[in-house]
Amino acid sequence: MAREMIFTRFERFWHWTQAFLIICLMITGFEVNGAYVLYGYERAADLHRLAAWVLIWLWVFAIFWHLITGEWRQYIPTTDKLAAVVRYYTSDMFDPNASHPFKVGRLSKHNPLQRLAYLSFNVAITPVIWVSGLLYMYYNDWDAIGLGWMSLLWVAGIHTAASFAMLAFLIVHIYMVFMGKPILGHLKAMITGYEPETPDQT
């Protein structure tokens, strides 16, 4: 059986650059929030702004790419096999003979649970972060754009709350990287682009 590329070169570039930037944003962002002192406020805030702009441009590219290639359809939620996937992660997977109920392919690279998770990441967490973050950055121009009634406390609070959600997401995401069989399978896929062959399936 010929191996099928799941993640194209652009997707892998996008994924890892985004991963690096988001981790950088978290390290600097939680410092700005006062959780610890690492770079000092000035450098942390500078790096945070820089990483944010790079990520924004990466997103502009990525959205463009998704629209052009039609890959945005990968995030359309479905309930098909959703229950089975949930059951797999919560109980079936402890059985070494059990296999994942969902077969990854070029046209559906995310299982139903992933679709749901990434969709909420894309339409809930990230927009809140972008909007609150840009408002935070342009705090001085609020009056000029008629937003003088807003409070920095609230904007910062919403930005922070979304960041906590992002961090929780990241923890689960990183853990689930190692849920493949073999254990490093998913990681390899995101590096090489190819899922390991699973001859026992279909």
Binding site: V32, G34, D95, P96, A156, G157, F164
Partner: protein, 528 residues
């Protein structure tokens, strides 16, 4: 070899020409050489005689000066309606000017203000020389009511061990008048409060010839600004008075085509968004005064400033001594004045300031149970007129009338029998009664001491940009702005409940992941 000698000689010659040109340029800007004026080529017995000679040509000068606060020591605050100026305000240094005129008016730009009878209309009583001397030899005698020493004298008067004030050569001084300088302005302004650096903290004799590190604009080897470069006088009226402070200059640059540019705010030259390469810093200029970041500390020039003055300790010798000095020679107790504290390299205190200052004036009721704010000011976060300003906060204890609840103004200076430092022999009752009575305020006879504060906005000793207050010094927990809690500041503030909830969520997620992993391991082990 020969060539290198030649080029050296050429180089030296070039340097010589440059120096000569620079020196020439200095004299070429004026069209009048005062040494050639016959009116000045004579022996002057007194200051007013010199003034009359000056007025012979400068016909409007005295009239101009008569209209200024420098002359009247009175300032009618258009915002608060309060009558201010040295003649009217109280402070917690020497407390008040009235009844102590000859001592205080040694910093008046006039001659002879020794009591209430001073004639403010007399043009020849304007002292031209104190501001326009270029010889550095003209000094007003400390108890001369504005006159210099016309014969050799010591201060304190009659004390042979005191400081020597030589008779001033008025002819030489008059023939060498010129523009004001850091030294002429500093003659009074560096010595406010009775000594070098005592009062302001950001102005002392170290600014006469400052280094770049002390003041980037007045740097003697750099820009070499004088006071008047920024406080650009208009017909002898000097802009930039503390009594009508501009807490926020929203106009920015002075209009280049304007006939007259006051230049007294930083923004007059630098604009409102001067940080070319750092927009985020520019984003601060609407809420943070320039000097808040650009004056990291005051009293940086090696001269200490007084930060505490406790009048209740006056009149009492300690261990039989009239004066006790610290290791650096600064008095920490003086029988005439009480106990002092002095500090150098002082980090300012920061407050929101909208430019409106409300003075506790004579005969204004105070609350002696707390600290009396002699010059209270307003401003808070969100107030479009206010910015965060640096201040020297002068603290001390001063006498007040217990029953009438007003600040006391003692008669300090003089030889009469009510003068605290003179015949009164440190009798507070006599001194306060005389001082208050002189100004038409009744004294109940019962006095005590109350703690007070006086706020001095910091504007000078502007550091080079590499020494400015960095972001982290405020955007951190326990930083410079720790006491200003009425706004959200990134790096300092966070929402406590949100942090607890957020990190709680993170902890629960980690726990869930950990348990899942543990189950995988346990189940895996059991199967094998």
């Amino acid at each position: 070899m020969r060539r290198s000698v030649f080029s050296r000689v050429l180089g030296l010659a070039l340097v010589g020409v440059l120096i000569a040109t620079a020196a020439g340029a200095e004299t070429q800007v004026t069209t009048a050489d005062h040494r050639k004026f016959e009116a000045l080529d004579k022996r002057f017995a007194t200051g007013p005689e010199v003034t009359r000679a000056c007025l012979g040509c400068h016909t409007e000068a005295a009239k101009q000066l008569h209209a200024t606060t420098h002359w009247t020591w009175a300032f009618d605050n258009p915002v608060t309606g309060e009558l201010l100026g040295k003649k009217n305000v109280l402070n917690n240094f020497c407390l008040a000017t009235a009844t102590n005129w000859p001592r205080c008016t040694s910093c008046h730009i006039g001659y002879g203000w020794k009591d209430d009878q001073f004639d403010f209309a007399r043009e020849d009583l304007v002292d031209c020389l104190v501001c326009h001397d270029t010889t550095g030899t003209y000094r007003k005698y400390p108890a001369g009511a504005g006159h210099p020493a016309y014969e050799d004298k010591t201060f304190p008067p009659g004390n042979p061990k005191g400081a020597v004030f030589q008779a001033v050569d008025l002819r030489t001084v008059a023939r060498n008048v010129g523009k004001t300088s850091r030294q002429t302005c500093g003659t009074c302004h560096f010595f406010g409060g009775g000594g070098d650096g005592v009062k302001h903290g950001d102005m002392d004799s170290s600014l006469t010839m400052p280094s770049r590190a002390l003041d980037v604009h007045m740097d003697k080897e750099g820009l070499n600004f004088t006071c008047a470069t920024c406080h650009n006088p208009k017909g002898h009226d000097v802009p930039g008075s503390r009594y009508a402070a501009v807490a926020k200059d929203v106009d920015g640059f002075d209009r280049p085509s304007a006939d007259y540019k006051p230049l007294a705010t930083c923004e007059s030259c630098h604009g409102t968004r001067p940080h070319e390469d750092h927009a985020k810093v520019d984003d601060h200029t609407d809420v943070v005064a320039c000097t808040t970041c650009h004056v990291p500390a005051f009293a940086r020039g090696g001269v200490k400033t007084k930060t505490w003055w406790d009048w209740s300790q006056a009149g009492v010798p300690i261990d039989g001594k009239r004066v006790i000095k610290d290791a650096d020679g600064y008095p920490i107790h003086h029988i005439n004045k009480g106990a002092f504290r002095w500090d150098a390299d002082v980090e300012p205190e920061y407050f929101w300031f909208d430019g409106t200052i409300d003075y506790t004036l004579l005969n204004e009721r105070i609350d002696p149970s707390g600290v009396v704010r002699i010059n209270a000011f307003s401003g808070e976060a969100g107030d479009p007129a206010a910015r965060i300003w640096p201040f020297k906060v002068m603290r001390g204890r001063q006498p007040y009338d217990v029953q009438n609840r007003v600040l006391g103004v003692p008669h300090l200076f003089g030889q009469d029998e009510t003068a605290f430092w003179g015949g009164g022999n440190f009798d507070w009752g006599k001194a306060l009664e005389a001082g208050l009575q002189e100004r038409g305020v009744a004294f109940s006879g019962e006095h005590d001491f109350v703690e007070s504060v006086y706020f001095w906005p910091i504007n000078h000793m502007v550091a080079p940009k590499e020494d400015t207050v960095g972001c982290n010094e405020c955007h951190s927990i326990g930083g410079r702005l720790a006491s200003l809690t009425d706004f959200y500041m990134p790096g300092r503030d966070s929402i406590a409940w949100l942090s607890i909830a957020g990190w709680g969520l993170v902890a629960l997620t980690l726990l869930a992941v950990f348990l899942h992993a543990l189950m995988r391991i346990v189940v895996g082990l059991r199967r094998t």
